[in-house]
């Protein structure tokens, strides 16, 4: 009756385990899970998951990304991006939307391109400036003459 929403192993195309180190341009059309070390670049048209022990020295490009490890490089995500508390990013991010947990480290620029046009800035310069009237200064306590009653 209810369909399972958990992705099966058949959907996961590539797993880079903690025992391997990958060097070069890694391009695939399927989901990727990274738990090891990658140097170069990673490009996928589907989801990317980076585990807490993973160390990435590469530029990343994916549809959606869940990052828990360390990334030294620029990240380009077209859809959703999630940074968990153990994530460390040293590079610029370009993403559609982002969810960042407390404790995640981000050193770099973050850009979120929006297709909608910016709201037009109101033209303040054409309005007349509000002129403030010159009011007399308030009497101070020192200026007031002290009346001394003679006994």
């Amino acid at each position: 009756m209810f369909k399972e929403t958990i992705p099966t192993t058949n959907e996961i195309e590539t797993v880079i385990g903690p025992s391997v180190k990958v060097e070069g341009d890694f391009v695939t059309e399927g989901n990727i899970i990274v738990e090891g070390t990658v140097c170069g670049s990673i490009k996928t048209s589907k989801n990317l998951k980076i585990g807490p022990q993973a160390k990435i020295f590469a530029n990343l490009s994916a549809a959606n990304a869940l990052i828990s490890g360390e990334v030294q490089g620029n990240i380009n995500v077209s859809g959703k991006m999630e940074l968990t508390s153990s994530a460390k990013i040293f590079g610029d991010i370009k993403t559609g939307s982002m969810n960042m947990a407390t404790g995640a480290i981000l050193n770099g620029k973050c850009q979120m391109p929006d297709n909608k046009e910016k709201t037009a800035k109101p033209e303040f310069s054409k309005q007349n400036k509000i002129e403030l009237k010159n009011e007399p200064p308030l009497p101070t306590a020192a200026a007031k003459p002290i009346k001394v009653k003679k006994v």
Binding site: E13, G17, S19, V22, G36
Partner: protein, 247 residues
């Protein structure tokens, strides 16, 4: 026209009954043909070439996975349809192809569902249908000439899968890609921890500082590194069953 190749071990007493029943079934179905028995003294590639020239369209291998793999290596260049009647063990290839043991396989043969299967080529002269395995600690693997995989730990079991059952945890589909599985076993505080890495590619180059033996699982044949493995798309025609396990 069918041509039957029997493995030499079928002369054993325990297979005589099964073989007789299978032969009767084939005769009843009207798909019997010429029979030849494999032996060391016969030049099988030469015999098969001659038979194909005389009009044989289907070669039926009667034996186990090892027999079938041997014939695949020979028949890859011949334009024939391969069929398989498994008798005895191991029969993993038969299970993947959906072919039952003994006389039941005759029904599969008569129904004649032909599928073109990918085959993996190793160093230009060896072929395997299911998998190749080796242990590599300091091995470097070049995938599709685009990236390298280096092993960081010891105790790695590396498997290159071509055709594997769908219900296995990591499946190798028949989609023109090889599945590289690296299983690393590490002992941590009296516990054995296993890590898996899975890659899909079309071409692999395996190198190591020392020569490592690799086993072709089908044939139990040993080849030493360096290895160059590539996939040949829809290279062989095989008669398969309805209950085949691959995609």
């Amino acid at each position: 026209m069918y041509y039957y190749l029997y493995d030499s071990y079928l002369t054993d007493k325990k297979y005589i009954n099964t073989l007789a029943k299978t032969e009767t079934k084939l005769t009843d179905m009207g798909i019997n043909g010429k029979i030849n028995r494999l032996s060391f003294l016969k030049n099988i590639p030469q015999i098969l070439k001659e038979e194909v020239n005389q009009g044989v369209k289907t070669i039926v291998v009667v034996g186990n996975d090892r027999t079938f793999s041997q014939i695949i290596n020979i028949a890859i260049d011949l334009n024939v349809v391969l069929a398989y009647i498994p008798i005895g063990q191991p029969d993993n290839i038969a299970k993947i192809l959906g072919i039952p043991q003994g006389e039941e396989a005759c029904h599969i043969l008569s129904s004649r569902i032909i599928d073109k299967l990918d085959i993996a080529e190793v160093n230009d002269n060896n072929y395997f249908l299911t998998a190749l395995e080796f242990c590599g600690d300091h091995t470097t693997i070049n995938c599709d000439d685009s990236y390298f995989i280096n092993m960081e730990h010891k105790n790695n079991l590396i498997t290159v899968n071509n055709l594997a059952a769908k219900n296995k945890s990591i499946n190798g589909t028949n989609q023109g890609q090889l599945t590289l599985v690296i299983c690393s076993r590490q002992k941590k505080l009296f516990k054995l921890k296993e890590n898996f890495s899975v890659f899909k590619c079309q071409k692999l180059k395996i190198t190591s500082p020392q020569s490592i033996p690799a086993v072709m699982v089908d044939e139990k044949k040993i080849i030493k590194t360096p290895l160059e493995i590539k996939i040949l798309r829809e290279k062989i025609k095989v008669i398969v069953g309805k209950k085949r396990l691959y995609n």
